[in-house]
């Protein structure tokens, strides 16, 4: 935090780490306004999560205290450190180090809970899906580094890459970004990652991991800005993800899964903002999202802690017994849906304004139709978000209680204080977007050339109220109103019943998991089995076959040599005759 206050301009320092045949890898650190803000958000959320975890794991589920707190805390710290490394890194390889260490930590932490049989599978899926994206990330870094002759980000940005190289590299990088930030089609790991302990979900969803992808794009923004193809792919990806996540969130019964899908959708807003050429809006939404999503997860953790289940069908009516949690969740959900004046409203408005600007004026790096796509998707997303946020609130805190426990209560202080502390930025962070040092930090943030400071955003602030702001507000009211009306009609029923036949499809997120299983996992295992069989039968078979053939040949020759005297004598004579003949012939020719 002190860093943030004292920081005036970008600071950079680096030392050569290693030289590999003319390619320099540096141990470099670069700090600018955006990096400092994200770093502060990361550490703030991590602090809240660590505090919360001491209570959540130690006192834990009552039947079995957790004995593995020390490695857990160490892994959380490593996770945070890795994210900070990504944030401040001044070198692509160093960034990759943090990037992958985060993947590892998420793997370790998701698998932490030994009582959940699905946890190891979910952890493995998280690591593998992001690793598949990282194949692209590594190749993209390799292309850029080789082209620039150095992996230092400043050198890479300054170097004039050819258009082909740049497009290829940016598209490859996007694969990695999609993996880490859970963008379609590599988003499947995130909802399953809910098998991890709730504070970990808060950490992964709010400050680390998913934020890394968005941040990496802003860090390399001038490269992406110069490649419209990459922006188009990013924009389509963002729009699909945004709607997919929001729709999938409507039909979940597990409270953590609702929040997980909402993260997928909100990251879609951020990548959408990037696609229409507004990194400041993306970073602003990233920061507010970090605050309200961490709040929501920790509050949900308090609910789960009190009720002993994650299923909303077994909650309900918790408003009176858990007032603190209720109010905090209300703030969080309000910010998520974008209710003014909570933080989410302002930042989402920034994203919408950027998309609208591109759509109507078409003067950004992205084509106008992309602006329309992102804008419309984002507007629909607002209504759907409002709908599922209202549903979550109603199902959990209103109506008659459906929990078997006699007396749910607010969590103990060690759980309560982090939640309350996070409620403050979740409510108020949006106001910081008014002109002032905060937005200046974000503006200066992305390492763009001085002439390329996004002209979509007026330099005097991130927030500008125009009449179009009424449009998302109206949609918000419609979404929330529909959910409320559904609930009014029947207070015991799930508003999701209104989805009708779509509900199972949405609950399984358009069955993309099955698609992934059929298209990727099953063929790979089949090929693996085939490779093993081939290797053992054919490659090794040839070797053992050679040995066996040699032995058979030897035995055959041996049998041939075991002859009775007359035949042997005849053979010796024949041999002598042959040799004599050969000698005569050679002598004759010589």
């Amino acid at each position: 935090m002190a860093l943030l206050v004292t920081l005036d301009g970008p600071a950079e320092s680096s030392a050569t780490w290693i030289e590999l045949g003319g390619l320099t890898v540096t141990l470099g650190v670069r700090l600018d306004g955006a990096a400092a803000l994200v770093a502060v958000a990361v550490t703030a959320v991590a602090l809240a999560v660590q505090t919360y975890s001491t209570g959540y794991l130690r006192q834990g589920p009552p039947e079995e205290p957790d004995h593995r707190y020390p490695p857990y805390a160490a892994q959380v710290s490593l996770f945070t450190a890795a994210m900070l490394l990504v944030v401040v890194s001044g070198d692509l390889i160093l960034l990759l180090v943090g990037w992958e260490v985060m993947g590892l930590c998420s793997y370790l932490l998701i698998a932490h809970d030994r009582r959940l049989p699905e946890a190891p599978a979910a952890a493995m899926k998280a690591f593998l899906v992001t690793r598949v994206g990282d194949v692209g990330f590594l190749l993209g870094i390799a292309l850029l580094g080789v082209s620039a002759g150095s992996f230092r980000i400043a050198d890479v940005l300054a170097h004039d890459h050819g258009t082909t190289t740049l497009t290829a590299a940016c598209l490859l990088l996007l694969a990695g970004v999609a993996g880490k930030s859970a963008q379609f089609p590599l988003h499947t790991w995130l909802p399953d990652a809910m098998a991890g302990p709730t504070p970990i979900s808060a950490l992964i969803h709010a400050a680390t991991m998913v934020a890394a992808g968005v941040y990496a794009v802003t860090r390399l923004w001038s490269l992406f800005e110069a490649t419209p193809t990459a922006l188009v792919v990013l924009g389509i990806m963002a729009s699909v993800t945004l709607l997919l996540g929001a729709l999938a969130a409507t039909a979940q019964d597990d409270i953590k899964r609702v929040l997980a899908w909402s993260t997928v959708s909100q990251i879609g807003y951020m990548t959408g903002a990037l696609a229409v050429g507004s990194p400041p809006a993306a970073l602003f939404h990233l920061l507010t999202h970090a605050a309200f999503k961490a709040l929501l997860f920790l509050a949900a953790g308090a609910v789960i802690h009190a009720v002993g289940t994650t299923l909303m069908s077994r909650m309900g009516g918790l408003r009176s017994s858990m007032p603190v949690t209720f109010w905090c969740t209300l703030i969080g959900l309000g910010a998520l849906a974008g209710v003014p004046p909570l933080s989410g409203f302002w930042s989402k408005e920034g994203v919408l304004a950027a998309a609208e600007q591109t759509a109507l004026h078409g003067d950004g790096p992205a084509p106008a139709w992309l602006g329309w796509l992102v804008w419309l998707a984002a507007l629909v997303g607002v209504a759907v978000t409002a709908w599922y946020a209202t549903r979550l609130l109603l199902r959990t805190f209103f109506g008659a209680t459906r929990t078997p426990l006699p007396q749910p209560h607010d969590p103990p202080a060690v759980l309560r204080w982090p939640v309350l502390a996070l409620a403050v930025p979740a409510a108020l962070l949006g106001l910081a977007g008014f002109p002032g040092w905060f937005s200046r930090h974000l503006q200066a943030g992305p390492p763009v050339g001085s002439d390329a400071v996004s002209d979509l955003m007026p330099p005097d602030g991130l927030i500008h109220l125009t009449p179009t702001v009424l449009l998302p507000l109206a949609l918000l009211v419609i979404g929330a109103g529909l959910a409320w009306a559904g609930w009014r009609r029947d207070r015991t029923a799930d508003p999701a019943a209104a989805l009708g036949p779509l509900r199972p499809v949405l609950a399984r997120a358009f069955r993309l998991d099955d698609v992934q299983h059929t298209v990727v996992v099953r063929p790979t295992t089949a090929v693996a089995r085939m490779a093993r069989t081939t290797d053992e039968r054919v490659v090794d078979g040839a070797v053992t076959g050679t040995g066996r053939a040699a032995r058979v040949l030897g035995c055959g020759l041996g049998v041939l040599h075991r002859a009775a005297l007359p035949r042997a004598a005849a053979a010796v004579l024949a041999g002598a005759l042959l040799i004599g003949l050969a000698a005569v012939l050679i002598g004759a020719t010589a």
């Binding site: 003319g22 990759l96 990037w99 690591f127 490659v539 090794d540």
Partner: protein, 480 residues
């Protein structure tokens, strides 16, 4: 006694670095154009009648491998003091390990082709004896037969490679009239046809040892049947004789042949990466899985060599060392698991983290290092082999880079599958009977490897700092 000898060797090996400054200046006067400039060298006439010389020397390419060999042998000897696998006496085992060490060190140090070949061969028979004498699991006839078969396959297969090496060496020696590697490097005196023939022979020989797909099938059996210390030495340093030979002898002596064959080598290396990973993905036995993973990892090393760029060869060198450290550790751990519960079948292993958290934590560390996590040793070799392939440019190498990177994802897949099977889940009955403790000898053997995996990962200059100048010199003659 033997262990003390191994320790002294390690001290001597590390001390080789000490005199480097003097050695460097002594052997590299500004006008000396040789591509191999050893820091220290011993050059004595040996068999004057056959014009053989006893010429040893160490430089930046061989030094990390020499230290690695000395270290791993020391750890293996120390480990054997604590636990002697059934089948023979511990003293004999340590003696054989030391003979193997002599052979390997000699191979890394030799600067005379014939001497190189002789040391290359010294390793073979003691290793055969270690596999047959102390290997396997149990003394019943079936397992006895299995390890005899594995030992025989190892000896005969690599002997086949050695025959090719002998022919290759004499093709070179006959054509050039000298066997001195220092003079030969650069291949100036050899005609193109000789170089192509010699490179083919040498590369085949080293491909068997490395092993390069499809000449790898001796490896899984030998690793699976060998005792723990045998597997560690086999995977840790024996395979490196192949890649070292490829860099020092095949590339240095016949550069034109190397340029000619590089695409084939690259394709085979990537095939090794992909097929090795896929086979691992369908593997059901712990030690066999780790053995096959060596095929994939050595594929990355060979890909680095095949690019013939400075980046690629440096990646190959650090990949070599990293693989020695990490796979050595993995085999130690797999051996510890097998010693405890007498099975390596993945179906019978589960829930290790519940009963033996330390062992399972170390296994997870080793697996994560092996899958090339940035910040640990395995990363540099694999990532920069890919970078080097991208750097080479062109459709072929770019495709190879993409395929190799996909191989990297498959590597993660099979190692995580292994971890999930072995460490997570409910403990099986055999695992449930495990105690959490680790013997002190085990810790003493493992901790240096863990620390090295971290140190090399965080400061790759440890290995590459000394290798930079010799590699540049080598690439200078190869890429001419």
């Amino acid at each position: 006694m033997g262990t003390v000898a191994a320790a002294l060797t390690l001290v001597a090996a590390v001390a080789l670095l000490g005199g480097r400054a003097a050695g460097w200046s002594a052997y590299a006067p500004p006008d000396a154009a040789g591509a191999v400039r050893p820091w220290h060298a011993v050059d004595l006439p040996w068999v004057p009648g056959l014009d053989l010389r006893f010429h040893l020397g160490v430089d930046g390419i061989s030094w990390p491998l020499v230290v690695l060999t000395a270290l791993l042998t020391l750890l293996c000897c120390g480990y054997s003091l604590w636990r002697v696998p059934g089948g023979g006496s511990g003293r004999a085992l340590v003696a054989l390990l030391l003979v193997v060490e002599v052979g390997i060190l000699g191979t890394f140090l030799a600067l005379d082709l014939v001497l190189f070949f002789l040391f290359f061969e010294v390793v073979l028979l003691p290793m055969y004896a270690i596999i047959v004498g102390w290997g396997g699991d149990g003394t019943d006839p079936v397992s006895l037969d299995a390890r005899r078969r594995a030992g025989r396959k190892f000896a005969l297969y690599t002997l086949f490679g050695s025959v090719l090496l002998l022919v290759g060496v004499y093709v070179v020696v006959a054509a050039a009239g000298t066997a001195d590697i220092v003079t030969l490097t650069g291949g100036a005196e050899l005609s193109r046809a000789t170089q192509l023939a010699a490179f083919t022979l040498l590369a085949l020989a080293f491909a068997v040892k490395s092993p390069l797909w499809p000449l790898h099938s001796w490896l899984p059996d030998a690793h699976t049947q060998a005792p723990t210390v045998g597997s560690v030495l086999l995977a840790g340093v024996l395979l490196k004789m192949g890649t070292y030979g490829l860099i020092r002898v095949a590339l240095g002596v016949t550069p034109e042949g190397a340029r000619w064959a590089a695409p084939v080598l690259g394709v085979l290396a990537v095939a090794a990466i992909l097929i090795g990973s896929l086979v691992c993905l369908a593997q059901t036995e712990l030690k066999r899985l780790i053995a096959y993973s060596s095929v994939g990892h050595m594929g990355f090393v060979l890909l680095g060599v095949a690019t013939l760029t400075a980046t690629g060869i440096q990646a190959a060198l650090i990949g070599n060392v990293a693989h020695g450290i990490i796979t050595g550790l993995l085999f130690f751990l797999a051996g510890a698991i097998k010693d405890r519960i007498h099975t390596g079948a993945l179906t019978e292993l589960s829930g290790l983290r519940e009963t033996a958290p330390r062992l399972s934590g170390l296994l997870a560390f080793a697996a994560v290092a092996s899958l090339g996590l940035p910040g640990l040793a395995g990363f540099w070799g694999e990532a920069f082999a890919v970078v080097a392939a991208v750097e080479s440019g062109g459709a072929l190498w770019t495709t190879l880079a993409v395929l190799a990177a996909i191989g990297g994802a498959l590597t993660a897949a099979y190692l995580l599958r292994m971890l999930r099977r072995v460490t997570h889940g409910e403990p099986t009955p055999v695992v449930a009977a495990l105690g959490p403790g680790l013997a002190r000898a085990e810790l003493v053997a493992w901790v240096p490897l863990v620390l090295l995996a971290l140190a090399v990962g965080l400061a790759p200059t440890l290995v590459l700092g000394v290798a930079e100048a010799p590699v540049d010199a080598l690439v200078g003659v190869v890429a001419r």
